[in-house]
Subunit: 141 residues, 4 copies
């Protein structure tokens, strides 16, 4: 029922052509993404903007969910908490590592650690919840 | 010590020229912003993307802080929690109303309600915390 | 389909006999609760403990949900974010005012402002999400 | 500058005599705690109450901070986000594993995974932020 990295890359390219996230790895437990940083992602002071970090984390959870339960386009984010921990480098890609910590019938929770490539210091941490449509033939409780 | 709407608009235009947020009102208690929605803000399904909503809320808190404590460029977001409540309209501006619920010496907490213009149903709710540099001549506790 | 204050008070007394929360008001939009503060609620320094504040907010959202959708015992909290804003008084009751900001088919989101009675300064702010079992005869999407 | 497990256990016993948390391990990176579950911790349905889980996580972060920066009694929680993932067992101790993901000059962020002892399935996940008083002789920025 899960999707392979190739299926997910194809799906993302078709459905979210604007994302610059690159899927590095994905399996049933989580995902790893990278994202180039350029002028579009920076804000004054030479730091990666907060919404860009949030966006990468959001995609990382989405990709991890596809890797776990297969291509389910109706999945939507219901909540997201981000903690900004350190100033990301303006010259390194952002790396996002996502682990799914709950895969329920209607709610999936993922945790994401974000880094500037080449550093072990987390720049931001995200916990996000997605709602997935229950399968039609399942009992509703 | 607070800044006027005009001072804030001038500061934002100089420091954050890329933001499409428009300051509608700001005083010592909070701010009200609007943001046009176009192709750049939409994602498949015709809904405003989550990072755009987060970004608007982030700016709304920042503007409210400037309105309260004056132009303090070193202010940074430390955490943000967003709950996505309803699908925003693809054809209406997003309106963000921010109230500051704590103005401490080093931490400021703001709450933001986001709407599609013309509707009373909240599309997203945000609580965000900003860190502000303590004033040099203040006691450090 | 909603429950009255009397029905809710009776239900809470039967199901949660240990809670010291007192329902002051409840209608389809929200609830207002009070909670006595004594030695059990205080921690060193004479402040109300964080888990007590969280607990009151959690009950306030639960009561508001009962007021909105009726007595639904299977409702469970799925996530909760609390911001501690000011030191609560050791000598005043805690007042919690809850507003439901989303009432979906399976997820309900409530926002709670907590005060020390007699003060207008918020001591803590909570956003919490509850999962409610979908009604058996409803379509599952 | 850090504190040993013995120093922390002594400090906690003196300052927080009411806590049932038992410090299993603590070093400069994090802490591990256990907490017995009895009638006081349960709610109807035989599950550990949410505020109890939050309380354990809160103590785990506090203990980890003491392990990192030494005995600093003025440390206070500023925000906490908890996701409830699975129903904890009524018959197993709760185990809390905390990792500090940021140790700043005034803000420390910790992440806690909570389990029912004997199971690898996380029952709850917490991210909490603490404010610590800046050292008097440090530069204030």
């Amino acid at each position: 029922m899960s999707a392979t990295k190739e299926q997910i890359v194809t799906f993302m390219a078709a459905e979210f052509p604007q994302t610059k996230c690159r899927v590095e790895a994905v399996d049933a437990n989580g995902s790893s993404l990278s994202h180039e940083i350029g002028l579009d992602e920076l804000r004054p002071g030479g730091t990666v903007s907060g919404p860009v970090l949030m966006s990468i984390a959001d995609v990382a959870i989405y990709v991890a969910i596809l890797g776990k339960i297969g291509i389910v386009p109706l999945t939507v984010t219901t909540s997201l908490t981000i903690n900004f921990l350190r100033k990301p480098s303006a010259e390194a890609r952002i790396i996002a590592n996502c682990t799914l910590i709950k895969v329920g019938r209607t709610l999936i929770v993922g945790e994401v650690s974000l880094y500037s490539e080449g550093s072990d210091d987390m720049v931001a941490h995200v916990v996000g919840t997605y709602s997935v449509p229950p399968k039609p033939n399942q009992t509703v409780l």
